[in-house]
């Protein structure tokens, strides 16, 4: 049950992240080959464009949507939730806006915030 909740949260977060295509600076292709810190940084830009508007600045939830820093699932669950959305919630499917690798970068960013 708890796992499902966190999955939902993750999806929401991913949905909020929006698309990496619009981000300026480094493209996701570059980030794919970058080290973990660079991937998290690129993920932060994607997060700000997509996830910020629901999951909050620096992935700090205000309480009405899941706090992504607490996401208990792994990367695969995070990606799946973000790509497909969470039906019957405000979490949309992001597959038309974000690639799988971009969502992985967002996941890296969220994990980096959880460790701060």
């Amino acid at each position: 049950m708890l796992k499902r909740v966190f999955l939902g949260l993750a999806v929401v977060a991913a949905a909020i992240s929006g698309t990496g295509y619009a981000m300026g600076g480094k493209r996701s292709d570059d980030a794919a080959a970058a080290d973990p810190a660079q991937r998290a940084e690129a993920g932060g830009r994607l997060y700000n464009q997509s996830c910020y508007k629901c999951h909050g600045p620096r992935a700090v939830s205000g309480g009405t949507v899941p706090d992504l820093r607490m996401f208990g699932g792994g990367e695969a669950e995070f990606v799946s939730t973000a790509l497909n959305g969470r039906p019957d919630t405000i979490m949309p499917a992001w597959k038309e806006f974000l690639t799988e690798d971009e969502i992985k970068q967002i996941y890296a960013y969220v994990r980096s915030q959880a460790q701060q």
Binding site: A22, S50, K53, P57, G63, T64, I90, P92
Partner: protein
């Protein structure tokens, strides 16, 4: 035990159903909301016909059965569950004992304002992917009523007309393409047979506009962009070819002066937030616009925040009144801006009269000769370089509306004390995605106060303090010299309009982010508010959300109160 319990519930359900059948139909009859009634709404104490109660957006009711002497005896008359977890930003409408409640972007309910019996429900059908394009949840501020119709601004940028007696849809008009980030969250303004709308979507790189539709047919009449096109005056204030996705959404209901034949619209932030990507003043973002009611032509403009880099969008309502200054009567327009200053303008021509900080403002000052912001070095975010400033991007006042009492000549401002650190970053436009180019973090949990400003002396009289920002619930002042406001904690609070002393409060089921109203049915005054936490604050505030607010449960409920002796 389990079986007995369910049997009991079954009996209760059947009994309730039978009672429902046996209950006589509501005696309430819709009375046509004519132009004459709308123009004289100020004297029509029993009803709440316009979003701001009157065209001047004063949110003042002359009713005084409930007053400073007896407000302590206010008790719930009924609580009507709205069946939703979405944020409830609505200001209900009341006409002849019938209350229209827009239930987030899910339903529109008509209920008997005295008994809460539902008369009809209209279901707003939204596309499944709509949440992708909404900045702040599936919210609405309310509806508009005119003659025998109810007008709904649907989130997916449609204007819908309903039969006020049955709730049946009469027509709908597509206003814009929601997949380009255009949404509607406001209660429309109806005046002179027109329905006026402004779009939301300033975070998505839309090109803001205000549009008028024929109230009978829904036919489009005029359309005024809040960002100039090539060759138009003001286009040269957008460097780097940035006007195309310039934002400047007018997402709150306008005020209207019938004598001057002007409607007044605050405009939102320019897009993206990263100001260096759009060098120049960026007209007409973060401004006040006066539009000719018949043509939509811009009669004057006043820009509060040139080249906004703080998200100090200036969408807030224009509160209209006459004020006395230095022995002269001024046809004033007051706006409590997100930058923390309450501005007084001459609404005949847009001339700056004065400003007054009503919260902690650390970015600089306003030049009292010109009305221009004078910003301290280091107080504006730059590309890759953060700036810390107060108030935050939620503003000293967000969209929660001011109330002005012509009795006390005091403006009551729901206020926010919160600071943010914001840094700009490179971005590029992509249709349907957020276009911010910035990221921030609140410095500390926010607080709030209801601020009373004497408009004659332009001075703060008192503050009633609260442990969280008064971010979304509007103020309501009454002829009984009581001022009501809701809190994120979920309390509906009444304070003395002259002293600011708290007189009464009531803990509702959830956080309050909607506007309280008052009205009378069969000669008795009621106070109503919809409780239901949600909207932008918990989504965008992060560390600015006080810990105790994170414990607030969601759930929409209409509360109606009466004095019981």
């Amino acid at each position: 035990m389990g079986a007995r319990k369910f049997t009991g519930l079954g009996i209760l359900a059947v009994t309730t159903a039978l009672l429902g059948v046996a209950t006589p139909a509501s005696a309430r009859e819709w009375s046509s909301v004519t132009d004459e009634r709308l123009l004289n709404a100020g004297k029509d104490a029993d009803n709440w016909l316009v979003y701001g109660r009157t065209y001047n957006s004063n949110r003042f009711s002359p009713l005084k059965q409930i007053n400073a002497g007896n407000v302590g005896k206010l008790v719930p008359k009924y609580a009507y569950s709205l069946g939703t977890l979405e944020g409830q930003q609505v200001t209900p409408t009341v006409n002849n004992g019938i209350m229209i409640v827009a239930v987030s972007q899910e339903y529109v309910d008509a209920v008997d304002a005295k008994t809460c019996e539902r008369l009809w429900r209209y279901t707003i059908k939204l596309p499944k992917d709509i949440a992708q394009y909404a900045c702040c949840g599936l919210v609405t501020k309310g509806v508009a009523v005119y003659e025998d119709k109810v007008y709904v601004a649907a989130l997916d940028a449609r204007l819908i007309a309903l039969d006020a007696r049955s709730g049946k849809q009469l027509w709908e008009k597509k206003v814009e393409d929601y997949k380009s980030g255009y949404t509607l969250t406001m209660a429309p303004l109806v005046a002179k047979g027109k329905v006026l709308l402004g779009v939301a979507g300033g975070e998505f790189g839309i090109r803001g506009f205000i549009q008028a539709f024929d109230a009978k047919s829904g036919d489009a009449l005029w359309k005024t962009y809040t960002v100039p096109g090539p060759g138009e005056p003001g286009y040269d204030t957008w460097g780097n070819d940035s006007a195309k996705y310039g934002g400047a959404a007018s997402w709150l209901t306008a005020s209207y002066d019938p004598e001057l034949n002007m409607s007044y619209w605050g405009t939102g932030n320019p897009a993206p937030w990263a100001h260096s990507m759009r060098p120049g003043d960026n007209l007409y973002s973060s401004s006040m616009l006066a539009l000719d009611m018949d043509t939509g032509k811009i009669k004057w403009h006043f820009q509060f925040v040139p080249n906004d880099g703080w998200d100090y969008d200036s969408m807030s309502e224009a509160v209209l009144m006459d004020v006395q200054r230095n022995g002269k009567t001024i046809k004033a327009l007051v706006q409590a801006n997100k930058n923390g200053h309450m501005y007084t303008l001459d609404r005949t021509n847009g001339k700056f009269i004065s400003s007054l900080p009503f919260v902690n403002v650390d970015w600089g000052t306003v030049d009292q000769a010109t009305g221009k912001m004078v910003v301290k070095p280091g107080k504006k975010p730059e590309m890759g370089k953060a700036a810390e400033f107060c108030p935050s991007y939620f503003g000293g006042k967000d969209w929660a509306h001011v109330s002005y009492s012509p009795q006390t000549k005091i403006a009551y401002i729901p206020s926010i004390e919160m600071c943010v650190s914001l840094k700009d970053e490179e971005t590029s436009y992509k249709r349907g995605s957020m276009y911010l180019g910035a990221n921030g973090e609140m410095v500390a949990p926010g607080k709030g106060h209801l601020t009373a400003v004497d408009l004659t002396t332009n001075k703060v009289l008192w503050n009633w303090n609260n442990d969280s920002p008064l971010q979304s619930s509007s103020a309501l002042s009454t002829g009984g010299d009581v001022v009501f406001v809701g809190t994120l904690e979920g309390k509906l609070v009444a304070v003395d309009g002259k002293s600011g002393k708290k007189l009464w409060d009531f803990q509702t089921n959830s956080g309050i982010v909607g506007g309280p109203i008052t009205y009378a049915v069969d000669g008795k005054q009621y106070v109503a508010v919809v409780s239901g936490y949600g909207g932008a604050f918990p989504l965008w505030a992060g560390k600015g959300v006080p810990e105790h607010i994170k414990k607030v449960n969601r759930g929409g409920t209409l509360w109606v109160f009466e004095v019981r002796e």
